[in-house]
Symmetry: C2
C-alpha cells in the first residue's frame, strides 16, 4: 500500500521550509519597529530551527488540489506562528517549565517571562491577521479562519494542553491520552491539511462542505471530498508523529531530542509507551502512517504525501 | 456642543449589558464539556461583573448605521472575550501580579496560573471563532476579522502591554505614555466602534474603505465615512476612559476601584497624573470626550453616543 520513501523527500521538505522561512521573515514585524523586544522574541521563536511540518503540509495539500500557492504559503506561515505561540506558552514555568526547545534556550529563558508570554499572544494575533489577508475569495478565507480558530481553542490545542497539565502525576486512561494527543498535536496538523484543501476555489465559488446539498453537478462534490480526505490524512499522521515523539522521548539520546531523555516520564506525563508499552506504541504509529498513505493515493502528488506519512514514523525503524 | 447626559443612559447600558451577558452565556462552552476547569475559568473571567463597554459600543455604533443587531451582539461578545483574555494575562504574576480585579479574585488566584494562562488563550481563540461565524456577507466578516486581529497584536493591545511592562520604574516620555494608552485601551474601544459600523452592508456589497476609489454613486461613500467617524469617536473616548482611570487610581477609594488605591504609582507605572498632573489630566480627558461628542452629532442615535462620551469622564466631575 505504502510507496517506498521518496529518496528526495528531504529535498522537497528542505525547499518548502526555505520558502516558508523567507516568507515568515517578511510577515514578522521588523525589530526596528517598537516594541523591539517583543518583535525580537516573536522572531526568535517563530524562526527557530524546526521542520516547518505544518506549513509544508498546507503547501502539499494545496498542491494536491491545484490550489493557490501564495495563499497556501501565507496560511502555512500563520499556522507556524500558532505552533510557535503554543510552544512558547507550554514552555513557561506555569506550564511545562522547559529551559530548552529544539536545542536552544526557550523564549522565556532568553527574553524573560513577561515578554515571552506577550510574544506568544502577539504571534497568535498576527496569525489571524495574516489569514484575514489571504488572496482568496472571502468565503474561503472565512472558512479557513473557522477551521483555524476551532483547532486552537478549548476543543483543540489549548484544551489538549489543559488536560495534559491537569493529568500530570495522575493515572490516565487510554481515552484521555488519546484526547490529549488528538487535541495537542493532531488537531493543528489536520487543520494544516484541511486548510491546504481550502486554497482552491470550487467551480461554483462555494466552500466545499456546502456543496453536497446544493450540487447537481457531480464534479462540485470533489473539493468537499478532498477536504475531508486530506483532513483525515492529517489527523492520522499527526497522531503518528505524536506517538513517535513519545517513543523517542524514551529511547533517543539527548542530542537527538534537543532536550533531556525521559523528561515526560519524570514529569509524570501520560505517554503512549507508559500506557501501551514501546512495541505496541510503535505498531500503532506505523498502522496510522499506513492508513494515511492509503487515503491519498489518487492525488496527483500522492508519492510525496505518502512519503510524508512514512516520514512521520521513520525515526522508529 | 455636548448634550446633557441622557438621564436614562444607565438604563440603556444596563439593557445592553444584560443582552450581552445572556449571549456570552450561550457562546461560552458549558462547564459540562471537558476540560471543565478550563471552561469554568473562561466563564469566571468573561462573565465577571463589568460595564461591558466594548460590546455596548459595537451595538451603539451598529445602531448608528442601522446595522445587523445579531451580528453586532456576537461581535461585541467576541470583543468582550478578547478584553477578558487581555485582563487575565495582564494580571498574571509574570506581568502585573494583581490578586484582585473588579473587586473579586483574579483568574490565576482562583484557578492557578496554568489554567488562567490557558483560559486567556482559549478565550482569544473563541473570539475569532465567533467572529468567523458572524451572520454577515463574507467580505464584511473578513474586514471585521482584520480590524480585530490588528487591534490585538504587537501594534495594539499586546504591544501596549509590552511597552507598559518594560517601562515600569523608568522615566517615560509623554509620547511613550500616549503609545501605551492608545494601544492598551483606545485600540480595542476604537475597534469596537469601527466593527459596529461594519455590521451594515453597503449598497454595492463592498466594505467601506474600498468604495472611495470605485464609487461613482455618492451614497456609497456613506458607510466609509461612518466607519472612519465612529473609529475616531472610539479612539477619543477610549483615551478619555484611560486618562480618567489613571486619575481615579490616584483619587478614588479602594472600594470604588475594586483594587488598591495608587497601585499604578507604587508599581512605577507611567500614568497621566504623574506626567501631566491631576488638573491637566482631567482637562485632557474632558476635551477628548467633547471632541468625541461633536463627531457623532449627525447619527440617528447621537444623543446616546454623546451620553457615552460624557460618561467616559463622568467620574471626574
Amino acid at each position: 500500500m505504502m510507496s517506498h520513501t521518496s529518496p528526495d523527500l528531504m529535498t522537497v521538505l528542505g525547499d518548502l521550509s526555505a520558502k516558508v522561512d523567507a516568507r515568515l521573515n517578511q510577515l514578522l514585524p521588523p525589530t526596528t519597529n517598537a516594541p523591539a523586544e517583543l518583535h525580537e522574541a516573536m522572531r526568535y521563536s517563530a524562526l527557530a530551527p524546526g521542520k516547518r511540518l505544518r506549513p509544508a503540509l498546507v503547501l502539499l495539500a494545496s498542491q494536491a488540489v491545484q490550489g493557490n500557492e501564495q495563499a497556501a504559503l501565507d496560511a502555512g506561515c500563520a499556522l507556524e506562528m500558532i505552533h510557535a505561540f503554543s510552544l512558547i506558552h507550554d514552555d513557561l514555568p506555569a506550564l511545562d517549565n522547559d529551559d530548552l526547545r529544539r536545542g536552544v534556550p526557550t523564549c522565556h529563558i532568553k527574553f524573560g517571562e513577561a515578554v515571552a508570554l506577550l510574544a506568544g499572544d502577539a504571534l497568535f494575533a498576527l496569525a489571524f491577521e495574516v489569514l484575514a489577508e489571504l488572496p482568496l475569495p472571502a468565503a474561503q478565507v472565512v472558512e479557513i479562519l473557522k477551521v483555524t480558530a476551532k483547532c486552537v481553542g478549548s476543543q483543540g490545542l489549548v484544551g489538549g494542553e489543559t488536560i495534559d497539565i491537569l493529568s500530570e502525576g495522575k493515572p490516565v486512561s487510554k481515552e484521555t491520552l488519546d484526547q490529549i494527543h488528538i487535541r495537542k498535536t493532531a488537531a493543528l496538523i489536520a487543520a494544516a491539511c484541511e486548510i491546504g484543501a481550502l486554497t482552491t476555489t470550487p467551480p461554483d465559488g462555494g466552500v466545499g462542505e456546502r456543496q453536497r446539498t446544493g450540487g447537481a453537478v457531480v464534479i462540485s462534490d470533489q473539493p468537499n471530498s478532498s477536504r475531508a480526505t486530506l483532513r483525515t490524512y492529517g489527523e492520522s499522521i499527526g497522531l503518528a508523529f505524536q506517538i513517535a515523539d513519545d517513543v523517542l522521548n524514551e529511547t533517543a539520546t539527548a542530542e537527538q531530542l534537543g532536550k533531556a531523555v525521559g523528561s515526560d516520564r519524570e514529569r509524570g506525563k501520560a505517554t503512549y509507551p507508559a500506557l501501551y508499552g514501546l512495541e505496541e506504541s510503535k505498531a500503532k504509529a506505523l498502522e496510522l502512517a499506513a492508513q494515511a498513505a492509503e487515503l491519498v493515493q489518487t492525488f496527483p502528488n500522492a508519492e510525496t504525501l505518502q512519503a510524508v506519512a512514512q516520514y512521520s514514523v521513520l525515526r522508529l525503524n
